[in-house]
Symmetry: C2
Subunit: 155 residues, 2 copies
């Protein structure tokens, strides 16, 4: 499946009062190669394995394959991952007919807050709430696979 996503920094955290749902995420990488990223994630009490291919030239679309796996398997596989998983809390905030996913990073990435919106077409219009900051779609520094090896507190 091809995902079309746009990504932004978040300017004020007061947006979180509108969160409909929040989940705790831990994730690590078996490969951080942008052409074949392999991610292990726990999200609350579930496990997932996700493989992503190269981004399109504008950075907005990317092949993505995801499979739910048992939580215990994900916890075992996290031990194989590159050092220091990423910890974050993901909040879902509705905006018109879309939903923003706001990732509030913790630990070595505390201070980093990213909003993502998934679109059906690259040119589909969407609401831009006033807490939405600079667009970083396609900027490799904001790939979680990059952040896993280069935490925000080293930027």
């Amino acid at each position: 499946m091809i995902e079309i996503e746009r990504k932004f920094r978040v300017t004020h955290l007061d947006c979180l009062q509108f969160a409909q749902r929040s989940s705790r995420i831990s994730q690590g990488y078996l490969s951080t190669d942008p052409a074949r990223t392999v991610r292990v994630r726990t999200k609350d009490d579930k496990g997932f394995l996700t493989i992503k291919g190269s981004s399109s030239s504008d950075g907005s679309s990317r092949y993505e394959w995801e499979k739910e796996i048992p939580l215990d398997d994900a916890l075992e596989l996290l031990k194989l991952c590159l050092p220091e998983p990423i910890y974050k809390v993901r909040h879902l905030i509705p905006a018109g007919k879309h939903t923003y996913e706001i990732d509030v990073f913790e630990g070595a990435n505390a201070g980093l807050v990213i909003a993502e919106i998934e679109l059906e077409r690259a040119d589909e219009p969407f609401e831009r709430p006033d807490w939405l900051g600079e667009e970083v779609t396609g900027d490799a520094r904001f790939y979680n696979a990059f952040i896993a090896e280069n935490p925000f507190n080293t930027w």
Copy 2:
């Protein structure tokens, strides 16, 4: 799950007359890092995703996680893999209470023939038929992940 395996070169191919079953395998790698290898495989009409951790110091045991996935997913994921999948035919040959898997490589690895036997304990005795050659357990050159990047015809 931890796998205990010993691996050998094969001296004569006449052992193949004893094959009980043979399967055609294509496989590629999303990560060839020996501490976190990620393999995509098609085996006849099935797909598999396999993740392996580091080997034990003697090379005979290794954490392995495997999941069957739809064949079409495996074919899509093979396109993301590092260049040139490995092609081989695997023959199963019984020997006492064990079964040898004999991999006859093709393409850039033609000429390479490897036998593997899975054991329950590292010191478990097993039959050594006369076609069994030099032991290569733990020799990283005979990891398929190494062969994928360094085909036998370049050795």
